[in-house]
Symmetry: C2
Subunit: 406 residues, 2 copies
C-alpha cells in the first residue's frame, strides 16, 4: 500500500513506529492484548542473559542492581500513571497483585463487608476477589453491578470499590476521579485496575486520590508475553498495610534470614519472591520507548485513530454494530464492534494480516496503539474488513463454530 493518509503527515509520534518490530504484511490491532516487540529489546535482553547472568552470575544482584529492578521498573511506570516515585513496584501477575491490594484494602476497613465491583471488570479480578472472600470466611460480600450503576451502589457498607478503568470488551472508561471521590465520601477505598489504561490513556492516580492500583506489563507497555504486572499503593497507606503474601523480598532484612517476618518500609513490602530478572529486564527496557513521549500526544493520536476507524467501518461495513461508547472521551484506546459471525470474520481478518481479537459472544476488538499505528494502517485495515464482509457468506454453518481460545 503506497497511499498516505493526510493525518499521518502531521503526526508527532510517526517516527516511533521505527522503534518497533512490526511483522511484514501485518496490521496489528491487538496491542491491547499483547504489545509489539520494541526493536532494541532483544539486544538488551541478550546482554542481560549473556553478560549479567552468564558472566556476573550471582554477583549481578549487586553489580547490576538486580535487587532494585522491581522498584526501578515501578518508578518508570509511575510516570505514565500519575504516581509519585516509590509508590509503584513491578512484580508477580496482575491476578496476584489484585489479591495483595484487595487484602490490604480490606484490612483498612475491618468493619465493612462489601467489595463492590462491576460486570465490566476483567473476570480474573472478580475471581480473585471471590477467592479471597471465601478464604477469609468473614462474611464479605462481592457485589457485582452494572458499570453504569456503580456510583449509586457506593453505600456506606462498602469497604472497597474495585474497578477496571477501561472495559476490556468495549473500551468504556470509568470516571476514576469522580468514582474515587464518591467512594471516599462513603468511607470506602478505591482500587483501580489499569490493565487497559497504562500506556494507553493519561492516568492521574495521585490526582484522583486512588488508594491502590494494579496493572499489566504486556499490553500497552510492551513488556513481552506474561510480563510482570505492577502495583500501586498510595503513600498514606504504605506503612499501614502489609501484603497477605509475606515473602522474603518484602522483609525488612531479607538477607538476615530471620525466622520472623518484619515488613520493610515502603512499597517493597508488597513484593514476595525473588524478582523475575529476565522478564523484568524486558519490561524495563521496553519502557525506554515512552521516555520522550507525552501521554497527551498518545491520547490525541489514539482518539484520532479510533474516530477514523469508527467512521470508516460505519461507512464501509454495514451490519457491524458499535459496541464501544461513541463519545471518544468515554472510550479507552480500543474500539469494539458486535457482529454475529464476529469470530469467523476475525479469523478471516487475521489470515489477511489484520490482527484484532474476539471476545465471546460476538465482540470483535480492535486496539489502537499510537506508538506503532498510522491512520493509513486504519484505512487499509477497514478496506480488508470490507472485502471480507462483501466476498464471504457469513451464514454458512461452519462459521457457527466458536473457538475457546482467541
Amino acid at each position: 500500500m503506497t497511499s498516505q493518509h493526510p493525518a499521518d503527515l502531521t503526526d508527532v509520534l510517526a517516527s516511533k513506529k521505527d522503534a518497533f518490530q512490526i511483522p511484514e504484511g501485518i496490521t496489528y490491532l491487538d496491542g491491547n492484548s499483547l504489545g509489539v516487540l520494541p526493536k532494541h529489546v532483544p539486544a538488551r535482553l541478550g546482554q542481560v542473559i549473556t553478560e549479567e547472568w552468564g558472566t556476573s552470575l550471582i554477583r549481578a544482584w549487586n553489580t547490576h542492581s538486580w535487587i532494585d529492578l522491581p522498584a526501578r521498573t515501578g518508578d518508570r511506570i509511575a510516570r505514565l500513571i500519575g504516581a509519585h516515585k516509590g509508590t509503584v513496584v513491578a512484580c508477580d501477575s496482575t491476578s496476584v497483585n489484585v489479591f495483595k491490594v484487595l487484602s490490604a484494602a480490606l484490612s483498612l476497613r475491618p468493619g465493612r463487608k462489601v467489595i463492590l465491583s462491576d460486570n465490566g471488570n476483567f473476570p480474573t479480578d472478580l475471581y480473585v476477589a471471590s477467592g479471597l472472600k471465601d478464604l477469609l470466611g468473614r462474611g464479605h460480600e462481592l457485589k457485582i453491578v452494572d458499570p453504569e450503576t456503580v456510583r449509586d451502589a457506593i453505600t456506606d457498607d462498602v469497604a472497597v470499590m474495585m474497578l477496571t478503568e477501561v472495559d476490556y470488551r468495549t473500551g468504556r472508561v470509568h470516571d476514576m476521579a469522580g468514582l474515587t471521590e464518591a467512594a471516599h465520601q462513603a468511607g470506602a477505598l478505591a482500587i483501580w485496575d489499569l490493565a487497559h489504561s497504562a500506556g494507553a490513556i493519561p492516568v492521574d492516580l495521585a490526582g484522583a486520590k486512588a488508594d491502590f492500583a494494579v496493572g499489566c506489563g504486556y499490553k500497552y507497555l510492551n513488556g513481552g508475553p506474561g510480563a510482570p504486572a505492577f502495583l500501586y499503593v498510595a503513600p498514606e497507606h504504605q506503612d499501614k498495610v502489609t501484603s497477605p503474601l509475606t515473602g522474603w523480598m518484602g522483609h525488612e532484612a531479607p538477607f538476615a534470614f530471620d525466622l520472623d517476618y518484619r515488613p520493610v518500609t515502603g512499597i517493597a513490602r508488597m513484593t514476595v519472591g525473588t524478582p523475575a530478572i529476565l522478564a523484568l529486564s524486558s519490561l524495563h527496557a521496553a519502557l525506554d520507548v515512552f521516555e520522550d513521549v507525552d501521554m497527551a500526544d498518545i491520547r490525541a493520536k489514539s482518539v484520532s485513530l479510533s474516530e477514523l476507524f469508527i467512521a470508516e467501518v460505519e461507512s464501509k461495513c454495514p451490519g457491524l454494530e458499535l459496541a464501544s461508547p461513541r463519545d471518544p472521551a468515554a472510550r479507552g484506546s480500543q474500539v469494539s464492534f458486535r457482529f454475529a459471525e464476529g469470530y469467523a470474520v476475525m479469523q478471516a481478518l487475521i489470515s489477511r494480516g489484520v490482527i484484532g481479537d474476539f471476545r465471546a459472544p460476538d465482540v470483535m476488538r480492535f486496539g489502537f496503539t499510537p506508538l506503532y499505528l498510522s491512520h493509513q494502517d486504519v484505512v487499509d485495515a477497514v478496506d480488508i474488513l470490507r472485502d471480507i464482509l462483501q466476498t464471504e457468506s457469513w451464514n454458512r454453518p461452519e462459521f457457527k463454530t466458536r473457538a475457546k481460545v482467541t
Copy 2:
C-alpha cells in the same frame, strides 16, 4: 591450571561442562544460589523473543503452545523429582507457591490447627506460613522446632508438616519418606520444599507419598535469575483442593470470561495469572541439559566432589569448622564451613575467582553442581582458599564489617 585430578578421568558427566558458559577464570561454587547459564539458552530465548513474540505476536499463544508452557515445563521437572506427568506445574515464585499449597493442605484438615516446620526451613516459607495463618485468623499455630526434633513433634493436632528437604545453610537432608510416613500416620499432610533438591539429588515424591511440594527454578535447574518456581500436588488431592489465588489461568474456561470462578480439573487449577513466557522459556530450555542425565550419576558425582572438598579443606585450611553433616548420605549437594571472618574470606575468595556465598552469622557455603564442576576445580578452589587464609590477617578491624546482601 593444567593438572587434572584422577577422578575426572572416569567422570561420566565430564562432557556436560561444555554445555555451560563458565566465565573465564571462575570456579563457580554457587549453583545452589543461581545456576550457570546453559550455552544454548541465549539462542533459544532469542528465538522466543524475535520469532515467537516479535513475529507471531498474539497468535503464539496457540501456534507456539505458550498456553501450555507451565504444564510442559512442569512435566520436564517432574521426571527429576519422581513425580508423574500432570502433577507438576511451573509458575509464580516459590513463596507464592508455598502460600497456595499450604492453603490447599490446610483446607484438607479443617479440624487441625498446627502447621509444623523447623528452623532449618528457608525463612520465606516460614514468613508465608505465618502470613497465611494471620490472614485466615482461625487459630492456626505455626510451630517451629529444631530439625532433629521434627519427628517427635508430629502430634495428632498437626494439620500440615512443611519442611525444606535440604537445609539452605548446612545442606542437611531430611528423611522425606520417613517423615512423610510419620506425618500420615498422625493424620497430617506433608509439604516439601525442594529448592535445594531439584536437580541436585534424587527425589522421589510419588514414592515418598508426599502430598504437596514446591521448588525453585533458578538454582540447580539453571532457569535464570528469578526463574519461575514449580509446584506439585499429589494426584489424589488435585481435584479436592483449590488455589487460594483464584486467577483466570486456573479457570475451567479462561477465555469464556465468565463472571464466576470454576477451577479446571488437574494441576492447572494451581496456576493464577498469565504465564511468564520469556522466563518460562528460559527454564524450559535450560532443562534440556538434564534430558540425557541420570540423577543417580549426578548424585554420585556430587558426593565425590563434596567429600573431596571436605578432605581438602580439613587438610589445608585449619580453623574452618565443618557446618554440614559429615555423612554424605545426610547431606545435599553443598558443603558449609563456619569461620568467624567468613564474610571477609568469602569476599577475598570471590575476588580471586572462587565464587561461593555467605550466610550470617559465620557460614561459608559452597555448592557442588556435578554438571559443570570437576574434581580439579575443587582442588584448585581449596588451594586458593588456603592461600587466602595463610596470607591475610583475619583479625583486622575492617573484616568485622558485615554486608547485608551477599
